[in-house]
């Protein structure tokens, strides 16, 4: 396999991580909604924690994207 095709395949594999992060972000908001509907009075005070969880899950997906971009554009083999 030549390097150009290996790069494209590697970038595609790195993009799988973005899908995994999508599952994580969905889980964060899903669990928040589930518990917020059970106790709506306490929901507003937990919004900061909601966004921390969202940010942590999202960051890992963004890192997968960054790796795909590094493989595609920054890596001159």
């Amino acid at each position: 396999m030549d390097l150009a095709s290996a790069k494209v395949i590697g970038a595609g594999l790195a993009a799988i991580g973005v899908g995994a992060a999508a599952a994580g972000v969905g889980y964060v908001f899903g669990s928040f909604l589930q518990s917020a509907l059970r106790n709506p009075a306490a929901a507003d005070s937990q919004q900061g924690r909601l966004f921390i969880g969202f940010a942590a899950a999202e960051l890992l997906g963004l890192m997968a994207f960054a790796i795909a971009m590094i493989i595609l554009y920054a890596f001159k083999g």
């Binding site: 900061g48 966004f51 921390i52 940010a55 960051l59 963004l62 890192m63 994207f65 971009m69």
Partner: protein, 258 residues
């Protein structure tokens, strides 16, 4: 690059503008990034000073400005407590700068030739320096208030000493990676969104140029670009909010030490 190829990285290129500055080996060149930073700064000043007339019965503009400040103030107060008032200036500055830079980078000025908006927050140099400032505030406040006791941040209380030995390196690494992750987040969110917009915008044009069913692809891609643009506005606001809330939580760690 061949004529049909898409080059999504071109939009992030920092290049000197107003060529007269570019003579010789002058290291201080006025770039498009600098121009758009100034435009963002001007927009922030326009927005803030327009709403600071302190009328007894506030108009719409003053309500908007006061609402924005009150929103950040509530957030800082909720995460740091009564001592948080001291740190409001930096948190609000970071919030409003990220918000305006992200939103103004999304504006469709590209219709006018040579007026392509440059998203200053799509460069890690910008967001990285902002996160380093936040981290420096955390370190400074922590060591100023608590001295060497600040290191107890890395040792969870109520754990057996074997657990402490094991947890210390993990806590330390997770603390040291904060400035990196804090700056990376707004940068990559803007970067990824603009690449997506660029690629699908190119698909619209290429679909129009192609024969046969290309027009159908073109219409679908245009709808997708419209949807993603709306999503980008949401992401721009969320990233500014996340940066502000994480900064105030990190400062809370330094002020209150668990």
């Amino acid at each position: 690059m061949a004529a049909g190829d898409i080059d999504p990285m071109h939009q992030f290129k920092i290049e000197p503008i107003f060529g007269s500055f570019n003579g010789g080996h002058n290291p201080f060149v006025f770039t498009n990034s600098a121009l758009w930073t100034l435009i963002v700064l001007g927009a922030i000043w326009f927005f803030m000073f327009g709403g600071m007339r302190r009328e007894l019965i506030p108009g719409r503009w003053q309500v908007a400005v006061e609402g924005l400040i009150g929103f950040v103030d509530d957030m800082v107060h909720a995460s740091i407590g009564p001592e948080g008032k001291k740190y409001l200036p930096w948190v609000f500055t970071a919030f409003i700068f990220l918000l305006f830079a992200n939103l103004m980078g999304n504006m469709p000025f590209g219709i006018v030739a040579k007026a392509h908006p440059f998203t200053v927050t799509s460069q890690f140099t910008f967001t990285g320096v902002m996160s380093l400032i936040s981290f420096a505030i955390v370190l400074g406040v922590g060591f100023w208030k608590h001295g060497l006791h600040f290191f107890s941040l890395f040792v969870p209380s109520g754990v057996h000493w074997i657990g402490k030995v094991l947890l210390f390196p993990i806590e330390f690494v997770s603390f040291m990676v904060r400035p990196f992750s804090l700056g990376l987040r707004p940068f990559i969110a803007m970067f990824a969104g603009h690449i997506l917009l660029d690629i699908f915008g190119n698909f619209v044009v290429q679909g129009l140029q192609a024969s046969g069913s290309g027009i159908l692809i073109s219409i679908l891609c245009f709808l997708f670009v419209a949807f993603i643009s709306a999503l980008e506005l949401l992401v721009a606001a969320i990233q500014a909010y996340v940066f502000a809330i994480l900064t105030s939580l990190y400062i809370n760690d330094a002020v209150n030490l668990h």
